[in-house]
């Protein structure tokens, strides 16, 4: 066999991580209400399935968009031939308007600065190709989306250095954590090119606060580096505090003519907000024309299908629809999240307080047999194989504290969520009983040994011990 590249033979694609192994287990035995009610329930997939009725009703009212038609004219030929990497102008306009609407129109976006890509996966990789190369690194706050290990590093040769965030302050980014990460990169001989944050955060489900955003901007100003803000969950912010985009902060600080303005880049996608991951619609937004020019050329490797651009330009141009959609999306996400949270509470499990995303960051530290990642893996395996829930262990998200789990709630029906909560409750109850009886057993053994010892010596000690237990 001829030799292949190192990319084939190494594992930087990251697919040996537990994040993906759980998926594989799920695929062997997937839950189905009717066909496989004892199967594994998928809670590791951040999909938004709550608003398809709204999308389908829009489609029913807009049959032309479905058939490549506009004003009665067929556009099939034009669309089939349209491969211009600048993208369909009407779609870009509709997309930037939608992005502005999500941000309460506090910021606006210019269609000349947006680059369309095949999903956020492609957007993130493309930005990395533009901004970093081998020997260079981006700093990422932990915990972070496991896919970044593949998307940012695999084919680009760039490295990730973590900014360690902890539960002591709700996993917020601190100045010292930023500085420590920067130093760590230097120690590894890596040149730091930028920061990448996900806002709202995956897996935390929280929006980044204004003071943290200010901190980030101060940091990149001093260090003269880039900032990528992955805002793919911006349309899922369902309760306060309100979402603040990095662009808004720059604008409020009157930095739109500064050097930093051109070093801040936003990644967007319709996979989470609109629930359309299959359509592969991603975007890079940058104020640096060189980044836009380079990324546009690179988008040739993963353009958005013109068929999809056309459909979505019609949908997102319908402002009545987008307004209703965003509002209902928020309501339903909020309601669904509260069902998960209350279900977990009944089981004595708490979550990080969150206001966005399609998942919760769940605290199961008290269920670990020890404060170690081995114990976390042990617990996770039991949850996947015995409880039959595919959730994601915090270690797969590079969390530095064992015991946290990423649990999705928007990719299933309410009934399935209820069932998942029941299974979890039974499981936790059984551990608790086991723990109790284990403890009892340990005490009995200790008592018997002591009995035996003291039978040999002092009967009175034995009597006292029995009273104390």
């Amino acid at each position: 066999m001829g030799l292949l590249s190192r990319k084939v033979t190494c594992n930087s694609h990251g697919q040996d991580s537990s994040y993906f192994l759980g998926w594989q287990e799920y695929e062997k035995n997937p839950y189905d209400e009717v066909k496989n009610p004892k199967g594994i329930i998928q809670m590791g997939l951040a999909e938004n399935q709550l608003c398809f009725d709204l999308l389908e009703s829009w489609l029913a009212k807009n049959p032309e968009a479905a058939c490549f038609k506009r004003d009665g004219q067929s556009l099939f030929k034009e669309l089939a031939l349209f491969q211009d990497y600048h993208g369909l102008p009407a779609f870009k306009q509709a997309l930037v308007d939608f992005m502005a609407e999500i941000r309460g129109n506090k910021v606006t976006f210019d269609t000349n600065n947006i680059v369309l890509t095949a999903g956020a996966t492609s957007a993130n990789e493309t930005l990395m190709f533009c901004l970093a190369e081998k020997g260079e690194a981006f700093l990422l706050p932990t915990p972070y989306y496991p896919g970044f290990d593949r998307d940012l590093k695999w084919r680009t040769g760039a490295e990730i250095v973590p900014i360690v965030c902890t539960s002591s302050n709700g996993f917020q980014i601190t100045e010292s954590a930023l500085e420590e990460a920067y130093q760590e990169a230097q120690r590894k001989n890596l040149r730091v090119k930028g920061l990448l944050v996900t806002n709202p955060s995956n897996p935390l489900g929280t929006t980044i606060k204004r003071n943290e955003l200010d901190l980030l901007i101060n940091f990149i100003t001093v260090k003269e580096i880039h900032l990528i803000s992955d805002e793919i969950y911006s349309g899922t912010v369902f309760s306060s505090p309100e979402f603040i985009s990095i662009m808004e902060v720059l604008k409020d600080r009157k930095m739109d003519k500064s050097q930093e303005w051109e070093r801040v880049h936003v990644v967007y996608s319709l996979s989470k907000d609109l629930g359309l991951p299959g359509f592969r619609v991603g975007a890079i937004y940058s104020n640096d024309p060189i980044v836009v020019a380079a990324a546009t050329k690179m988008s040739s490797f993963g353009l958005v299908s013109s068929q999809t651009q056309f459909l979505l330009s019609a949908m997102l141009s319908d402002k009545k629809f987008t307004k209703e959609y965003l509002s209902k999306n928020h309501k339903r996400l909020r309601k669904r999240r509260s069902k998960l949270v209350s279900g977990l509470e009944k089981t004595g499990i708490s979550c990080l307080d969150s206001n966005a995303g399609l998942f919760c960051w769940v605290d199961m530290r008290h269920l670990l047999s020890s404060d170690t990642f081995e114990a976390e893996m042990e617990l996770w395996k039991r949850i996947v194989y015995d409880v039959k829930l595919n959730i994601s262990p915090g270690s797969s998200c590079h969390c530095t504290e064992p015991g946290w789990f990423h649990v999705c709630f928007a990719n299933m029906s309410e009934e399935t969520l209820k069932l998942a909560m029941q299974r979890l409750k039974s499981f936790v109850a059984s551990i608790t009983i086991n723990k109790q009886s284990h403890q009892e057993l340990m005490n009995t053994r200790r008592k018997n040994r002591t009995n035996w010892v003291f039978r040999l010596s002092f009967q009175s000690f034995h009597d006292r011990e029995q009273d104390e237990r």
Partner: protein, 480 residues
């Protein structure tokens, strides 16, 4: 001040090549029959526009092919959520079957080996990432598609080493040329990882015969290097000899299949470049698995997968389409090459692709690439046709130009031909064949006689007239 990567700030994207310069000229002044009759006619874009009515008719009869119509919306949710990089099973089955049919069902493709990519552009880059590390090389026969300079090299860091092909044997690939290129790479300190061939060839419009393909397969096996077969024009072969695919040849010659990879797409054969349907078909499991993971960076939109699956699983439609497409391409090609020959312009004898490899060596003032560029600028600025100069395809000899013929309607083609005629007659009557024009005073009657021939050709039924000077192909005879 922090910089961007070298990849982003360098010229590896290749867009400063003249191939793209002509496009820019076109974009600033594009031809339109009514609004801009003096605009530049685009003949540098290898698109297949000849079968849209045929396809549109099918679409109207199959609303369920769209997940957005009332007939198809039942599949909307599951399609919208489907992001599995294995691709929809029905999509893979449909594409595998189509690829087989295009090869006359002489080979079968396994749907489990079909891997998606962002068009053939994405496929080539992905295959390069899988087969070679930065600094390693791929051999490419010249002339070759200019986009390869970007697709295979830009972000991968892979080098390209040309395999020189010459007009003296109609640009066929010889064993000597392959060996010479392989040796040269060695001398330059480059480790060769593979050979990429485009068959049918862009820009030549020719196919490789069975013996040449066998020789190539033997070569790669001897050197233990990969063979990438870009077969994106497979269904555009419109007359004999019949297309022979690598997938057929490896059944006939001893071959390590782990070396064999095919790149495919629907952009040329079906005319769907906008839908971004690229395919990698590798016989090597490790490459297939890696390419599949990399396909995350350019998956085919599930909306499009559904459309293509529905369309290509309609086997009657596919059979009819393949025949119709070949016929349209044949007619257009034959008329175009005949018209050019009438003014003494020859081209490489071709039987596939969406373009001809036009021989303008006689029109060069100097037999140099500067001479070629001068002529090219005249063609763009005076004749107002965007054709692609051979040098942008790394052709070893000046004077060849690629001219696309399938990306326009009949009227536009007539305008293009009349401009060419006018240019030739004005500038270089000596190249007009003697039997048609002895003296310059015959110019007028010549053009009249040419128009008469054209009228003969363009009979009301739109098929070739029995009075046509061109031999009729068996395809046309069968239809009429």
């Amino acid at each position: 001040m922090v910089s961007m990567s070298k990849i982003a700030t360098g010229n590896g994207h290749g867009e400063n090549s003249p191939y793209f310069e002509g496009w820019k000229a076109y974009e600033t002044n594009p031809f339109h029959p009514i609004d801009r009759p003096d605009g530049v006619i685009q003949m540098g874009l290898a698109e297949n526009q000849l079968c849209f009515e045929f396809i549109k008719k099918w679409l109207m009869e199959h609303p369920e092919a769209s997940v957005c119509t009332s007939e198809g919306v039942g599949r909307f949710k599951e399609t919208a959520l489907f992001q599995d990089y294995h691709g929809m099973p029905e999509f893979r089955q449909a594409v595998a079957k189509f690829m087989g049919k295009v090869r006359g069902d002489r080979v079968k493709f396994d749907p489990e080996r079909i891997v998606m990519s962002g068009g053939a552009t994405g496929a080539h880059e992905t295959v390069a990432f899988c087969l070679a590390d930065p600094g390693e090389a791929l051999l490419l026969p010249t002339p070759y598609y200019p986009g390869f300079d970007r697709d295979l090299r830009w972000r991968t860091g892979v080098e390209l080493v040309p395999v020189i092909c010459e007009s003296c044997n109609n640009f066929q690939i010889t064993r000597n040329a392959l060996e010479a290129a392989y040796e040269k790479a060695g001398e330059d300190g480059l480790r060769v990882k593979g050979l990429l061939i485009t068959n049918p060839s862009n820009p030549l419009g020719t196919i490789m015969d069975r013996d040449t393909l066998k020789s190539i397969v033997r070569f790669v096996n001897e050197k233990n290097i990969h063979l990438i077969g870009d077969e994106i024009y497979a269904a555009t072969v419109f007359k004999s000899p019949e297309f022979v695919s690598i997938s057929e040849v490896i059944e006939e010659v001893e071959c390590d299949r782990d070396l064999i990879h095919i790149v495919y797409s629907l952009s040329k054969d079906m005319g769907f470049p906008g839908f971004r349907v690229g395919i990698i078909y590798s016989y090597n499991d490790a490459v297939m698995n890696c390419a599949r993971k990399m396909s995350s960076y350019g998956l085919v939109s599930s909306q499009t997968q559904h459309l293509i699956a529905t369309m290509l699983n309609d086997h009657d439609f596919v059979d009819d389409f393949i025949v119709e497409s070949r016929e349209q391409l044949f007619k257009r090609h034959e008329y175009f090459t005949w018209s050019l020959s009438q003014v003494g312009i020859g081209s490489l004898k071709g039987n596939g692709g969406l373009f001809i490899w036009m021989d303008l060596r006689k029109l060069l003032k100097d037999n140099t690439f500067e001479g070629e560029m001068d002529l090219w600028r005249v063609i763009i600025n005076e004749v107002k046709l965007n054709v692609s100069p051979g040098s942008s395809f790394h052709c070893h000899e000046p004077g060849w130009f690629r001219v696309c013929f399938a990306n326009m309607d009949d009227n536009t083609m007539e305008v293009a031909l009349s401009r060419i005629r006018a240019f030739i007659l004005k500038n270089n009557e000596s190249i007009v064949p003697r039997k048609l024009c002895r003296r310059s005073s015959l110019k007028l009657s010549l053009s009249r006689s040419l128009s008469r021939r054209i009228d003969d050709f363009m009979s009301p039924t739109g098929i070739m007239s029995p009075h046509s000077p061109l031999p009729q192909s068996p395809l046309v005879r069968a239809r009429t």
